[in-house]
């Protein structure tokens, strides 16, 4: 098992280099001039252009640019933003915790909402409750997140004044409404999964054994049933966390939370190549690492899984 883990970690290294190279190339090969993009509709004086190119190595052959860039990256220096010349490390240090809070709370709310709901739906299989919530959660899943977000802002923020409308000025409380919006939007999948796995587990023989031991229905359900049913659900939640790191773009925009999604949206509009590259690389690696963690988590949760 340990050997497997080490092997997976080592596999990350070539993947890291290949993906960073691809991202680097793709972004730089997109037509258009990132320096011009900073100047809007004005022509750039030649000297200024020369300075920019010097500073960002823009006139070197592309592979040399890549090596220079990777040299910096491996020293944990992601370079500077072309638009504002701010060090990207600073931007990360500010933006990442905000996205983490948003993603973390979303997964938490998702768990708190979807798991009991899935359990209830399994218990009341095929009743109005079950079918009704199936429909409701599907609707939530299909409504585009910005619509949900705007509705929430208008009703819960402005009209009923329960939550702050935007921003991060109220500490952790600012993240509650956006996280709820995300959670209710995606909980359809988790709730259905919980329902399905619980129904599957419900048919398992070992539950019958547990009852035969006189353990009482509550314990049979909680200790024997849920422990098995939760395995796929927990792994899905962990994967959600990884996906949300890059997937909160719309919500961050609607609720004005300056996290990673916010930064990369703006960077794309402004053609700020260094930020785009830096954040993309980070997101790819984060997702890979999270997937590795999820695999390990799965093995830890289910002792039948053995990796060689």
């Amino acid at each position: 098992m340990f050997r497997y883990f080490i092997r997976r970690v080592l596999q990350l290294i070539p993947v890291f280099f290949i993906t960073t190279l691809l991202i680097f190339l793709v972004i730089r090969l997109i037509p258009g001039d990132p320096v011009q993009a900073q100047f809007g509709e004005r022509r750039i004086p030649d000297t200024l252009r020369a300075n920019y190119e010097e500073r960002y190595h823009l006139n070197e052959p592309i592979f040399k640019q890549y090596f220079l860039y990777m040299g910096d990256v491996l020293r944990f220096d992601l370079g500077d933003s072309i638009a504002t010349q701010r060090p990207i490390n600073d931007i990360f240090r500010e933006a990442l915790p905000r996205t983490l809070r948003l993603a973390g709370l979303s997964v938490l709310f998702q768990a708190v909402l979807a798991i009991p709901l899935g359990v209830m739906m399994a218990r009341k299989k095929d009743t109005w409750f079950d079918n009704g919530f199936l429909v409701v959660t599907l609707i939530m899943l299909s409504v585009p997140p910005f619509v949900l977000g705007l509705l929430a802002q208008v009703y819960l923020g402005v009209k009923w004044d329960i939550f702050p409308v935007q921003g991060i000025n109220d500490g952790l409380w600012s993240y509650v409404l956006p996280s709820l919006v995300i959670a209710t939007s995606i909980m359809a999948v988790t709730a259905r999964l919980m329902r399905a796995t619980l129904l599957d587990v419900g048919r398992e023989d070992f539950l019958r054994t547990a009852r035969a031991k006189g353990l009482g229905e509550r314990r049979v359900f909680a200790v024997h049933g849920m422990r098995n049913a939760m395995i796929p659900v927990l792994t899905v939640l962990a994967i959600d966390l990884g996906a949300l790191l890059g997937g909160t773009i719309v919500t961050e925009s609607v609720f004005n939370i300056p996290g990673i999604g916010f930064q990369i949206t703006r960077a794309v509009i402004q053609r700020d190549n260094t930020i785009i590259t830096g954040i993309s690389i980070f997101l790819v690696m984060a997702y890979l690492v999270i997937n590795l963690i999820v695999d390990m988590l799965y093995a830890w949760l289910d002792p039948r899984i053995r990796y060689e």
Binding site: R211, K213, G214, L215, G216, N228, R304
Partner: protein, 339 residues
């Protein structure tokens, strides 16, 4: 946690009737209709006795003992009639809390496929120890120690190491031993074994049966053995109950049953058992297939396949009647006439 009901604290006297099942009828209400899995079945079990319930798949044998343990899912199952008494206490319609003081404590059950019957995500030792923790309020350490002791008792080598392993790390035979250990944890008075050896190799089968016999000799517990394998039963059972299509069709002592099965179905089964000794013959089988319990024919359920069938058999269902020449009963109109 829950202490055993003091009512059962006393050890059963010899020949005390532990389990008394009378006219048990179990139905399942499905979309396709009402299925009568068990119809009007009666049997009892004494201390120290082994009762074998025989029959094909679908004969209702598993359902009848699951009803004893209250393991029938209700809905869609319903105990439509009859009574089940454990040492005088009625189990049909009992409150779950009461049932839980008996299940696992007084009456224990082991199942056919130990791999699926054990929870894959908990260690084996933990699962055995669970009974101690839940029913006796034992500490984790105590429970663990007792579990290891039990595993040793049932013949699992290296029990301390094995206790920390998971079910999928055990072999088939060892798993069944673990199940037995789990069942025996709280010294039950009755052990119900539902096809305990069906999923095992032949050699392991013998070991498990020996183990069961050995434990029964020690503890004087009653053993109800469900099986379709006549060979297994021969060496172990004291009494036999043969079921067909949800009904009891023959009862008797094991010896008598094996010497001379009375019911045509029992006879057919006996003949179809392949023998290792004797001249090579064509394998005999009972023609036809067991009926679906949804649409039971009127009259005797076995009549379509019975070589001795007469008109009366198709019109009138036979009841269990005492055999003329020995202890036991058979449900056949022509009992007296048959060989």
């Amino acid at each position: 946690m829950t202490m055993t009901d003091p009512q059962f604290a006393t050890a059963p006297g010899l020949d005390e009737t532990l389990l008394e099942v009378q006219n048990l009828t179990v139905e399942f209400h499905t979309e396709d209709g009402v299925v009568r899995a068990v119809s009007d079945v009666s049997w009892d079990l004494q201390a120290g006795e082994t009762l074998a319930i025989l029959g094909e798949s679908g004969s209702g044998k598993s359902v009848s003992v699951q009803a004893v343990m209250g393991l029938i899912p209700m809905p869609p199952g319903v105990i439509a009639g009859g009574s089940i008494r454990y040492r005088g206490t009625e189990l049909v319609g009992a409150r779950p809390a009461m049932l839980n003081t008996i299940r696992g404590v007084e009456i224990a059950m082991i199942f056919q496929d130990p791999l699926s019957a054990l929870n894959p995500v908990y260690k084996v030792g933990w699962q055995i120890a669970e009974s101690f923790r839940v029913h006796r309020g034992a500490s984790r350490r105590d429970a663990k120690d007792q579990a290891i002791a039990l595993m040793d008792r049932v013949g699992i080598p290296n029990p301390a190491v094995r206790a920390r392993q998971y079910p999928h790390e055990f072999s088939g035979g060892m798993r069944q031993r673990a199940m037995i250990a789990m069942a025996l944890a709280l010294d039950p008075k009755v052990l119900i074994a539902d096809e305990p050896t069906t999923a095992l190799d032949v050699t392991v089968q013998a070991q498990i049966m020996d183990l069961l016999k050995e434990i029964q000799a020690d503890t004087k517990m009653g053993l109800v053995l469900i099986t379709h394998d006549l060979g297994v039963v021969a060496s172990v059972a004291d009494r036999v109950l043969m079921m067909y299509a949800g009904r009891a069709v023959e009862t008797g002592t094991a010896d008598a049953f094996y010497a001379a099965p009375a019911h045509p179905y029992s006879q057919g089964l006996m003949q179809s058992v392949p023998r290792l000794t004797g001249p090579l013959e064509r394998l005999e089988s009972i023609p036809g297939t067991p009926p679906s319990v949804v649409n039971l024919p009127g009259g005797c359920a076995f009549s379509p396949r019975c070589p001795y069938t007469i008109d009366r058999c198709r019109d009138e269902r036979p009841h269990l009647r005492d055999l003329p020449d020995r202890d036991g009963q058979s449900a056949c109109h022509r009992t007296e006439e048959l060989p």
